[in-house]
């Protein structure tokens, strides 16, 4: 089970869906949901000094309305500026290959497509989670 997951998504309703799906599938022990890239950036900056509460895994929405930057830029900042210590990927309803490629380039390890069929995708991701932790699992789109 993943100890702590951080979800960054501007859609509050998706927080509930994601939390319930993770709970039903027993994916994580704790889950924190926030709705802005700026807040995520600030949290990761804080966790550089004190890692208490730092998540093991981060799911970032592609389009973060109201944030200074989008999901791909947030992934880049978490990986390059705040240290590459977490399993990180994008969760989005988009399946745009150009965006997926960009996400891959900035160090996203997976791309989960948001839809009604979220649980099987999360389950598949969870089954490969150990591979993401030791970086042996290649980038994958769960669609």
């Amino acid at each position: 089970m993943i100890r702590c997951i951080l979800l960054v998504d501007d859609e509050r309703m998706f927080h509930w869906i994601f939390e319930d799906a993770c709970s039903i599938l027993d994916i994580s022990l704790t889950l924190k949901s926030i709705d802005s890239a700026d807040e995520a950036d600030r949290l990761f900056a804080d966790w550089k000094g004190d890692s208490t509460g730092r998540p093991e895994c981060v799911f970032v929405d592609l389009n973060l309305v109201g944030s200074t930057y989008n999901g791909i830029e947030l992934v880049r900042r978490i990986n390059k500026i705040h240290g590459n210590g977490v399993v990180i990927g994008i969760i989005s309803s988009s399946t745009d290959p150009a965006e997926i490629e960009k996400a891959k380039q900035v160090g996203a390890q997976f791309w989960i497509v948001k839809s009604d069929e979220l649980e099987p995708r999360l389950e598949a991701f969870h089954a490969r989670y150990d591979g993401y932790v030791d970086r042996s699992e290649p980038f994958r789109v769960f669609a």
């Binding site: 089970m1 100890r3 309703m13 998706f14 869906i17 319930d20 799906a21 709970s23 039903i24 022990l29």
Partner: protein
């Protein structure tokens, strides 16, 4: 999750929880259940924890389905809203186009009216000109004929009374012709004035 994370519920605590469940149908729920463990030697405790977890998941699944339904409807409304906005944009563009067309049509109509008015006036002026020309020709013709006749009579007749009669007759006739010519011109000017008044002061 390591074993150290577990919160082990003692038998007495489980007994109290079971009592709450039987009396009030209340079970432990939420994320804390993932940390809970009980003495595996106590089948009742294990059963309680399993039931609590089952109920928690069932509630979450129900909520998940409900939330998904709400999200689906929201997306549909959003889509309908977007469609309406697009349709409104198209309608606005069409309205602007229609207004332009209307304006162009009105301009064309105005031009046609002006052309028609000009053509009518032209015809009117030509008619007046013809009437005046014909009338003046008749008047001048009659004037010339009577003058010639008077001149001939003046030279041929030797009776002074007849000459005087012819002279007064000639002057009467010229007077009548002059009066008639002024009458024709006056009538024509009157008709023109009346038609101008009917069309309005600006025309």
């Amino acid at each position: 999750m390591s074993r150290d994370d577990s919160v082990v519920l003692g038998e007495s605590a489980v007994e109290q929880l079971r009592q709450a469940a039987s009396e009030h149908d209340l079970y432990l729920e939420g994320g804390i259940l993932r940390l809970m463990s009980v003495d595996t030697d106590s089948p009742e405790s294990v059963k309680y924890l399993k039931e609590a977890k089952r109920l928690d998941k069932a509630r979450r699944r129900e909520r998940l389905e409900f939330t998904k339904g709400v999200q689906r409807r929201n997306k549909e409304y959003q889509q309908q809203n977007d469609d309406l906005k697009t349709e409104r944009g198209r309608n606005d563009a069409l309205m602007v186009q229609l207004k332009d067309e209307k304006s162009r049509t009105e301009q064309a109509l105005e031009t046609v009216k002006k052309d028609l008015d000009y053509a009518q006036r032209k015809n009117q002026f030509e008619l007046v000109e013809n009437i005046v020309t014909a009338a003046l020709r008749v008047i001048i013709g009659v004037g010339v004929v009577t003058t010639v006749m008077y001149a001939v009579a003046l030279f041929v007749t030797e009776d002074p009374a007849a000459v005087t009669l012819l002279g007064s007759t000639w002057s009467n006739l010229l007077g009548i012709l002059l009066t008639n010519s002024f009458s024709i011109v006056g009538t024509i000017m009157g008709v023109k004035y009346a038609s101008d008044q009917r069309e309005g002061p600006s025309s």
